[in-house]
């Protein structure tokens, strides 16, 4: 690993979305993989005992800190692979005026996925947005679901089923349970 490469870290059972940075090496923390466990063990605070470091191509390193007895969900590996493959690296990566993908928005998305997905949920495809944000997409038969993390707005979700012509578009945070149910369809 390049010594100057920032490490983006996650903390199981951590306080909600704690973030910090230092000038020497930029570190950011979020509670990816933690929220669900934290809710399940509301009366406990367990220090993370192990971690897994995963490079996202050449774009940074995510360190996932796990609580004892937990393991990475099966959807993480395809999500990281999708990130590495699709990351918008340079300004104008879309051949127009796109901004580079920003790690803080990736972390926001990983937090949302951690909160909404089960260990055996289908992995979404991740696609960069031109504003530096990122979105997750699921597609199956006639249905599509998106969790969209724009750079300057709250996270949204979108669902469409061509067979039933059902269409939903709303804020993610206040509809997390609904999104959890939708993810289970894919």
């Amino acid at each position: 690993m390049n010594a100057a490469e920032p490490i983006y870290s996650t903390r199981a059972f951590a306080p909600p979305l704690e973030q910090s940075s230092t000038s020497a090496t930029t570190s950011q923390y979020s509670d990816v993989l933690a929220r669900r466990q934290r809710e399940a063990a509301a009366f406990y605070y367990l220090e993370p005992k192990s971690s897994v470091t995963i490079p996202i191509g050449q774009h940074g390193v995510v360190q996932l800190k796990l609580a004892p007895g937990t393991q990475l969900p099966s959807w993480i590996s395809p999500v990281i692979a999708s990130l590495a493959e699709r990351w918008g690296a340079q300004p104008g990566w879309d051949s127009y005026d796109a901004k580079p993908t920003q790690m803080q928005h990736v972390l926001r998305l990983l937090n949302h996925l951690s909160a909404a997905m089960l260990d055996n949920s289908s992995s979404p495809v991740l696609v960069p947005l031109s504003d530096g944000g990122i979105q997750a997409e699921w597609h199956r038969h006639d249905a599509s679901l998106e969790i969209v993390v724009p750079s300057d707005e709250p996270t949204r979700y979108y669902y469409y089923n061509a067979a039933t012509e059902e269409e939903e578009e709303d804020d993610f945070e206040s509809n997390r349970e609904r999104v959890q149910k939708l993810i289970a369809e894919f």
Binding site: G88, D94, S95, Y96, V125, V127, S130, R140, E146, Y158
Partner: protein, 136 residues
């Protein structure tokens, strides 16, 4: 960034196609191996396009939009289908740094708009399909 308040340009006909380049990392592979643009392609706050009538006048084919952009694909949406979505305007955007046929779709693009464009879009230069491995 201050919002661009330019009004819709009525000299761009509703029947005009708007051409937009798509890169490999913006493609979604469907179950049959065909590929289509992600809705993210149609969410740029100021969405650059080439305007069909401005390409026809000097005799340029749509594929000319890809000149200088090897390895990219070209899709199209119809101006009239864009305008039915509230708040979206299409303007010409000439400038020395731009293609003479360059235009912008201005206004906030909601997910419902971007996904409607995914359903409506027509490839001009499509990506090759991906081989699908069938389970026995």
């Amino acid at each position: 960034m201050a919002e661009d308040t330019r009004e819709d340009d009525p000299s761009i006909p509703n029947t005009d196609r708007l051409f937009r380049r798509v890169r490999e990392n913006q493609l979604i592979t469907l179950e049959d191996g065909s590929r289509r643009p992600s809705s993210a392609v149609f969410k740029a706050p100021e969405m650059s396009v080439n305007i069909e009538s401005l390409m026809i006048a000097p005799g340029r084919p749509p594929q000319d939009t890809l000149t200088g952009h090897p390895g990219e694909y070209l899709t199209s949406i119809v101006a009239g289908k864009v305008r039915i979505h509230a708040g979206l305007r299409i303007v010409k955007d000439f400038g020395p740094e731009h293609d003479p046929a360059h235009g912008l779709v201005l206004g906030k693009k909601r997910e419902s708009f971007a996904n409607a464009m995914v359903r409506e879009h027509q490839w001009i230069v499509p990506p090759p399909p991906v081989a699908v491995r069938k389970l026995l």
